[in-house]
Symmetry: C2
Amino acid sequence: MTSIVRLVAIQCSLPNLHDNTGDIDRIRKNVIRKGFYPLRVPLECVADLSVNARRAHFQGVAVVNDMGDHYELIGFESGPPPILTGMALDLGTTHLEASLVDLATGEVLGSAHRPNDQIEFGTDILTRIHFSATPDGLQILQKRVIATINSLAGDLARGCDLPLTDIKALSVSGNTTMMHFLLGLDPATLCREPYIPVVNSLDTLHACQLRLDIHPLAPVWIMPSVGSYFGGDLISGILASGMDTGSETTMLIDVGTNAEVVLGNKDWLIACAGAAGPALEGGIARMGMRAGPGAVEKVWIDAETSQIAYTTIDGEKPKGLCGSGIIDLAASLYLAQIIDVRGKFNPERGGASLSETADGLSFTLVADHHGDKGRPVVFSQLDLDAMMRSKAAMYAILTTLINQVGVGFADLDTIYVAGSFGKHINPKSAITLGMLPDLPLKVFKPIGNSSLDGAVKVLVDQKSRKRSLELPKEITYLELNVNHDFMIRFSGARFIPHTDPSLFPSVPIFES
Amino acid sequence: MTSIVRLVAIQCSLPNLHDNTGDIDRIRKNVIRKGFYPLRVPLECVADLSVNARRAHFQGVAVVNDMGDHYELIGFESGPPPILTGMALDLGTTHLEASLVDLATGEVLGSAHRPNDQIEFGTDILTRIHFSATPDGLQILQKRVIATINSLAGDLARGCDLPLTDIKALSVSGNTTMMHFLLGLDPATLCREPYIPVVNSLDTLHACQLRLDIHPLAPVWIMPSVGSYFGGDLISGILASGMDTGSETTMLIDVGTNAEVVLGNKDWLIACAGAAGPALEGGIARMGMRAGPGAVEKVWIDAETSQIAYTTIDGEKPKGLCGSGIIDLAASLYLAQIIDVRGKFNPERGGASLSETADGLSFTLVADHHGDKGRPVVFSQLDLDAMMRSKAAMYAILTTLINQVGVGFADLDTIYVAGSFGKHINPKSAITLGMLPDLPLKVFKPIGNSSLDGAVKVLVDQKSRKRSLELPKEITYLELNVNHDFMIRFSGARFIPHTDPSLFPSVPIFES
């Protein structure tokens, strides 16, 4: 293991009249001899290091932080501590997910998640960026997210019966805006041409600099970003998938607040990102929710009888629709011809399930008496319109990217689909809607929360940390905000499955 | 100039859609290209760096700290600031002396000094070490010395009409105990066999870590020590004298709380230290005082008439005796045969100037009506005994050291004498007492406050900083506390000039 915090066995000669080297210099010399160079000793640690080393007669275990470009001697124990842990964090716009990792073995000891408390100041990231420009706005957002991270650390520590300060490292991957909020940096220029972050890559921090409750000198590894719309979460995704190590060209799709897509292999990587996610994300769509208990995730509609069937996550009473549920529902509605190729409800086919509401025609998936707390689950024309924009954006992103390098979809044997989107989505439904390309289903490989997995990797593996710093330099980033090709492709994708149905041979076309 | 804070001219290309590199990464790349690598950017600076760089359209001057093993980007200005200053500090047991240095030119802009406020908790260092072991003792001592440094910084800044935060660097040389107090480190083992410091060499700190009022990210360079009795002040002395660069063997004597002596040349250096100073230091001897206005510095006594003449520093009314005054007085008393070879007052020769007091026979140098505030200046047998111990220790230190390497005093063309001791002392008198070896007077070269001069050097010159880190490894330290040879030599030196008068051919011997 080459984890971010290392235990180094130390055997120093004892101080004597012929060797009056200072305590710290004595230990430092020994640690350097083991290959940890350059090595710094923070002033805060000096007194305790000296006391502990003397008590242990200079025989024991040194605790060494790997800070990237140097090492740090932060502790001395008479023997190896029973456990050495680090926290990996996926810092999402709507949700934070964390794992506690045994830094000696790489084993995940526990997991926890919490909603992002910043949501009070804006469900979407743009509203929060605007809020951050108000007096104290940025500080409030920073405090909120740090409080949430502290709560998560508390959850993890309690779960393993450890004191909080036993968490001795933290790695964070998140989108560029969330990173700015975490660091208290003004995100104003992220969403304005030419979309420049304050910083892409930061030196390793200490937990105390962010007022975190874990060990104050725990190294905090912030996954670097490539640009405003390509965050450290996607660098984590690349690390987790390993797509940058093989000679085969693969694609990685991560749908969160944005759809972020990377294409490439060990020789080249190209990436782009666009706003394809919001309509699919919990908290944004009217009936949308996170992929948690009670979320409708699969839907079937009998094309003949219009009879509806669905499943919810954990089998709980239906509360709303997660991203995969929305896609499954929309695809089913299309196949049942309740919506047409333009993505509009067809009142003649919807029957009693369709009713006029303030949001236009709406489809009642779950009647109120079947819903959680007696509330129905309804999908309106407004929700549908948002979904159509998202699916069109997604397909436009994928095709723009793939055309940029002269590769065809058919050349891809693997498309990694990250996140809960990848975990729950039925690729068949996404293909039906023209959101994902019409490829054999086995091509689509869900890889779970790759943002979190990448964060775990950098905690335990030095090569991954080095790689994460190199990756941003190797990636060609395609800016879609000003891409004419993308705009054209977006328009073409605003039909089900597409204005050019020959791209989707497996999808039935219904003449309206 | 390769000063500890550097201004680096920067011209970055402007951010655009084809180069969306973050602000900090953009500047960092440019600074690294100028040779400042590895380069770190403290989180505290990131927001301001970005704002300032954008305002200046990424054309301007970067402020870069040289932290020893890495650089730090801490500021960005549209043009070079009018002045860039650093503070050099000699951290003495009784007194602190500081200079404000223009880091661009090396020019000393101003100087200031203040008594060490720790004196309230012990005039001598051993009393303070004991005090530091009482509850909160160490913290109190640390706070005191930091408050004094802040006051000095205020004096210097006011003197140059600068805000305190315009002081952008600090270098400190002091003895090992004072360094422990400054850093809040327990000095208990410094004065107990085997005399081990907590730390010899510390990484460069930031001013805020010590709660200093100068620029919070000012690098603080603490001159490393060799041992408990060989502090950073003497490393500074070596740097200031340049004795480590020539092929000629020279000696450096620094008398402060201890007498510290170095012998050597560019190929080898040997050093030792011992308690030879206290009797000569202001605040320790009954009538002793710092070499300041009103201190008697030179004394003549006519051997025939016993008539007394003296001068004071700045010609003010006599207040007491500084170290050089004590030596001059004792030598004159010996030559007038008012004290004998054993260092005892001879009542038969002293006449009316000698009177019996609680401290034994006492010599009135200045009658009350001539003294400052109507107080006499008196030199007692107790003071004389202390002086005899000091002078014996000094000569024993010098001979032990010189014999260790098989060099003779006659081989030395230069003996650097540091500090106010070197500035004010009459070497002839010191030779008469048998304190310094009987060599031509031109051999003795006063070099002023070399502790302060060395601190100035490390502020402005990178080679000196590197050298100060190498020197401790090159110096052979001779521990006198357990040295049998030293003990014998000490006994032999407790006569005036010595039990072996042939060592001092220029000094008259009076048979008692």
